[in-house]
Subunit: 230 residues, 2 copies
DNA sequence: TCAAAACCTTGATATTCGTCAAGGTTTTTT
DNA sequence: AAAAAACCTTGACGAATATCAAGGTTTTGA
């Protein structure tokens, strides 16, 4: 994990992040003074469960997973962060130790925004506060959906649900889904073992609802998937 | 569900809510103009899954449960709101339909804060925005814990965890826990059937870790409970 | 205070999903 | 291009937890 880049480049990068797109340019420059760019290598841990948050992060490039650890290494991946997304804001506001850990899936570039840089800005710019409220609300909504899936739905329903979310538009009956990562990663996000995920795909294929070839899943009958949800 | 009280009384009630305790009195009075007090009877539904949010709520008195519905009525209770707590803020900011429904467990009094009342204030008072950020962050943190419990822990571990959270202080070995509601409500919050909950309590009793009498659980060996978590 | 309703427990059984193990396939590295 | 590593699938099995059913207990309320 190493530091890089001058302040000006950082200000430029920050401006491109949706969260800060409406912030006064001067304020962004001021904030950039406190921001560092980190390079995190594949497999490297950005923060551990139990670490104290000192700010939050924005992913510029690469892929970062947030996951619950487990003794036998059977981690459960909560979320896969993609470039342009921020993470860790809520834990920063709370000031409690991280309940999850974060790890780079591939070599990644991350902005580290210290708490001071943000709290100062929040006092000046209520729009930023509203944007952060919106951002955290989205997170919260996703967590609720995740929890519902986890506690109310069977494995096949969770997979079907994921495939439906990947539909290009509401009514489409046939479409291709390109899995965003290795199957075992996707399985973990659905709170499934790779074995169960594989078996579910098998069953859905047998039923003529999908066709699988590698990481591409061809949905043949979206309506049929919907019916699984009851 | 009926309306009641004059504006002045509402302003008074609002001031007592932690969220608004630092807001300028004049602003609270202005906000009170738009706020209604609702009376919700036991069993009545405040909002359904799928309804469009128009604001958020603060519970003054009573008990409100937030839950996922299910066809066969085997709902899963996500959270039990207690007096003084607010709910629905995040969904208001998102403007998406409620993913859960809310129901009064007993006759309750609720403040209905429409979106306009809050968004106006947010522009004026950044401290309120920060407080709301903190409030939503807490919610988010709880959801993460809930999801972790749900996907990483066994039934006995979830029960033990709940009993640990109810400890009066960190080190105490023996203490009484008064369940906040009927056992089947508590079971649902732990994502357990009442049957499984009952059996877990039985096992913990057999192991000499607890004693159960009605809704009071006497923890005999907090250290033993902790060891269950591994 | 008695009846009804809600709540809780216990047993038998079924289902879902995870674990373990082995073999095959694809991707990466040398 | 070969070797190694990572990834994926399949089968046999087991464990955890839900479901169904019945009976007991407590609470509510008429």
């Amino acid at each position: 994990m190493m530091m890089a880049k001058r302040s000006n480049d950082l200000a430029e990068a920050l401006r491109r992040v949706p969260l800060f797109s409406k912030v006064e340019p001067d304020d962004v420059v001021a904030m950039a003074e406190h921001v560092r760019e980190l390079h995190v290598e594949r497999g490297e841990i950005l923060f551990q469960k139990g670490d104290q948050p000192h700010g939050f992060y924005i992913l510029l490039e690469g892929r970062i997973t947030l996951a619950f650890p487990s003794e036998q290494g059977t981690e459960r991946i909560l979320e896969v962060i993609k470039p342009g997304e921020s993470f860790g804001e809520a834990l920063m506001f709370l000031g409690q130790p991280y309940p999850i850990f974060s790890q780079a899936g591939v070599d990644s570039r991350v902005l580290d925004i210290p708490e001071e840089a943000i709290t100062n800005l929040l006092d000046k710019d209520c729009r930023l506060a509203k944007r952060m409220l919106a951002g955290i609300s989205i997170r919260l909504h996703e967590l609720i959906s995740n929890l519902e899936a986890c506690s109310m739905r069977s494995s096949a329903q969770r997979v079907a649900c994921m495939l439906q979310h990947a539909a290009p538009s509401a009514g489409t009956q046939e479409y291709d889904v390109q899995l965003p990562a290795a199957k075992h990663i996707v399985a973990s996000q659905l709170n499934l073992t790779p074995e169960t995920f594989s078996r579910v795909l098998h069953v859905l294929t047998e039923s003529g609802l999908i066709e699988v070839s590698g990481r591409v899943i061809k949905v043949l009958n979206a309506e049929g998937l919907r019916k699984l949800q009851l």
